[in-house]
């Protein structure tokens, strides 16, 4: 017991040699060791602050720093490259971020469908063994196109197609169509993700739209009648929109040809027959006039050769077989169709 007391007394004496590391504070200081921060809520000694400002501040800071370092020295340490390192805890002061927290990316239409049905992505093998070429060929990426080209040095034209179709061009066109469709789908996905209200024909407004887009918009708008725009009047110089994707925008434009009924089929067949087996029509008036001409010639050949021959060629032909026509219901025969607004 005495030994213990002696040792303790000795230790105490040694400590007295050094300055203390404990700090007495009225109110507890708030520590955030993660950011090496200490906040001291105690009031100041105003007189000291006024009279010996710098010394007072230094002493105050020293006390607070001592408290902070005491806390740091309590932390678990490890040895890293000849120095002792303390592991800091998570900081409690929350500092604002620069940007928003990133949200989850909205799923595309296909991704949603795949998630529902449980379809997972299957990774394609980079190389497959091709029998025709007898070597390992990449399925995508570098050297894939080359391998495909060497396989497709000849393309058969199928039985039911026109023998003059360019199969290579068809292949390219098919690929281009797919690319265009993919682009449209990608745009749709973007529009869906951004939740922007977009009209069907993609009309962006009069300032941004190009002439072809405006034309497409007009075509789509025209087709919004019960008869899908078939009986809409056309302006004199109005054109219809052409190109990929326009038919898709017209509602009902993608339907199959189910409207062809039996009667129509027969009518079409009759039409084909009449076109292919055309017989020359008999122009009765012309035949009569030609006959008259022949008779007259025959008479003249017998009769007086001194008589002046009737003018032949274009002159006679003009006046001869022509029936008087009624100017198609127009009032003034020479006047053009009125351009501009009809003034009442």
């Amino acid at each position: 017991m005495d030994v213990v007391k002696e040792v303790l007394a000795k230790h105490q004496k040694e400590l007295e040699k050094y300055k203390p590391i404990t700090v007495d504070k009225h109110l507890e200081c708030r520590l955030d060791v993660g950011t090496l921060l200490i906040t001291d809520p105690n009031d100041f000694d105003d007189r000291e602050l006024r009279d010996n400002r710098e010394e007072y501040l230094t002493a105050l800071t020293r006390d607070n720093t001592q408290l902070l370092l005491n806390a740091i020295w309590e932390l678990p340490t490890e040895r890293v490259d000849e120095s002792i390192v303390a592991k800091l805890p998570e900081p409690t002061t929350v500092l604002p971020r620069l940007r928003k927290v990133p949200g989850p990316r909205p799923l595309t239409k296909w991704e949603q469908f795949a998630k529902e049905k449980g379809i997972t992505k299957k990774k394609r093998d980079k190389k497959t063994y091709d029998d025709t070429l007898d070597k390992w060929v990449p399925t995508y990426g570098f050297k894939h196109a080359e391998a495909e080209k060497s396989k497709d040095w000849v393309l058969e034209v199928p039985q039911n197609a026109d023998p003059n179709t360019d199969m290579f061009q068809k292949k390219i066109d098919l690929r281009n169509e797919k690319v265009a469709k993919n682009e449209i789908q990608r745009m749709k996905n973007i529009v869906r993700a951004r939740k922007v209200d977009m009209p069907r024909s993609g009309y962006l407004g009069p300032e941004a739209a190009s002439s072809s887009q405006l034309l497409t918009a007009v075509t789509v708008a025209k087709s919004s009648t019960a008869s899908v725009g078939k009986f809409q009047n056309k302006l004199p110089k109005e054109k219809e929109a052409r190109g990929l994707g326009v038919k898709e925008l017209i509602p009902g434009g993608k339907r199959k040809a189910s409207h062809i009924t039996n009667n129509e089929r027969e009518a079409n067949l009759d039409l084909i027959k009449s076109v292919l087996h055309k017989k020359p029509k008999l122009n009765v008036d012309k035949a009569i006039s030609m006959q008259k001409e022949e008779d007259r010639l025959a008479r003249e050949a017998e009769g007086a050769p001194a008589r002046k021959a009737k003018p032949k060629g274009k002159g006679s032909r003009k006046a001869v077989g022509k029936k008087p026509k009624g100017n198609h219901g127009q009032r003034a025969p020479g006047k053009k169709a009125q351009a501009g607004r009809k003034r009442r």
């Binding site: 040694e14 400590l15 050094y18 300055k19 203390p20 590391i21 950011t35 090496l36 921060l37 200490i38 906040t39 001291d40 809520p41 105690n42 009031d43 100041f44 105003d46 602050l49 400002r53 710098e54 501040l57 230094t58 105050l60 800071t61 607070n64 720093t65 001592q66 902070l68 370092l69 005491n70 740091i72 020295w73 490890e78 890293v80 120095s83 002792i84 390192v85 303390a86 592991k87 800091l88 900081p91 002061t93 929350v94 500092l95 604002p96 971020r97 620069l98 940007r99 928003k100 927290v101 990133p102 990316r105 529902e116 049905k117 449980g118 379809i119 745009m187 973007i190 993700a193 951004r194």
Partner: protein, 314 residues
């Protein structure tokens, strides 16, 4: 989000750059932009230089003078800060009305979040202290003295701004011998902020933890708060939101049995049996009798519910 663009990036490098411009989960260390005003000299210039020293290398200094009035029109400051990929700015200027003026600010979503205009009353630069300094890139300890720091919203925000400005970056661990720098901010009764900066000397104490002695180095400034522009509570709250993915969650559904084996419970979600990809088998189809039964059941349930509602309304 780079996937939601109309013009897709054509190169991998371009894609990486676009991805870097989007909001990130873990943000990079915040850099500060140093902007000079129409007239900038004297203490202001000295302070900006010293602040540059303290914050190196997370700084971007603009050399030209700019005719900007941050409190009238912060848009040009926002633009400059955004273009230089900075999160904070310090704008120094001097004029007859506001001599030795410093505007400390930070941004959120390319808009000014908080801005504090401080006037320098007294300034002593680093070079005026004739003693040995500490090295560069040292993370400082921050001390806030005074009860007023947590009393008003403005001062709380200012404290947060000072921490943001001076704490450099978040670290996981610190070398015990590397705790060399401490900065103290004291707010007096007449709303003056006294900033002091000291070097920490570790002395023997007979115990493991050393005794601290301080020696003043680095800038000493007395600020007076002139104007402030602080964000609303909602915006500030939103800005401080941290992503959930970074929160360390406790592991649930894990237990150990008597033999020391770890067991886990897996909870399956609800299966939408209607939309699972299966082959349609004729045998599993509902017969017309079953369908009729279902319909009858539904009718009865509806009637009961309607009767309940009627009874409840009476």
């Amino acid at each position: 989000m780079s996937l939601l663009r109309i013009r897709k990036p054509k190169t991998r490098k371009g894609k990486k750059m676009l991805m870097a411009r989007e909001p990130q989960l873990i943000e990079a260390a915040r850099t500060m932009l140093f902007v000079d005003g129409r007239k900038c000299g004297g203490s202001v210039k000295q302070f900006m230089k010293d602040l540059n020293q303290l914050k190196k290398p997370l700084v971007k200094v603009l050399n030209r003078k700019n005719d900007i009035t941050p409190f009238e029109d912060p848009s040009s400051l926002e633009f400059l800060t955004m273009k230089n990929y900075a999160a904070q700015f310090v704008f120094g200027s001097t004029s007859k009305k506001r001599p030795d003026n410093i505007v400390l600010g930070r941004l959120y979503e390319n808009e000014v979040l908080d801005m504090f205009e401080l006037g320098i009353k007294q300034y002593k630069a680093i070079s005026e202290f004739m003693n040995e300094k500490i090295g560069a890139c040292v993370k400082p300890c921050l001390v806030f003295n005074g009860p007023q720091w947590s009393q008003t919203e403005e001062l709380r925000r200012l404290r947060n701004l000072f921490i943001d400005t001076f704490h450099r970056e978040k670290v996981d661990s610190i070398r015990l011998q590397g705790v060399e720098h401490v900065m103290s901010f004291t707010v007096t009764d007449n709303m003056n902020i006294l900033m002091r900066s000291y070097k920490i000397l570790l002395k023997k104490s007979g115990q493991k933890t050393p005794r601290i002695e301080l020696e003043e180095i680095g800038p000493s400034a007395d600020f007076v708060i002139r104007r402030t522009k602080i964000a609303s509570e909602d915006l500030y709250k939103q800005a401080r939101k941290q992503p959930k993915q970074l929160k360390v969650g406790k592991k649930k559904n894990i237990s150990t049995d008597a033999m020391g084996n770890t067991k886990g419970r897996v909870h399956m979600g609800k299966q939408l049996t209607g939309s699972i990809q299966t082959r349609r088998v004729k045998a599993l189809r509902k017969t017309p009798e079953e369908k009729k039964e279902n319909r009858q059941k539904k009718k009865v349930a509806l009637k009961a519910a309607a009767a309940e509602v009627l009874a409840a309304s009476h």
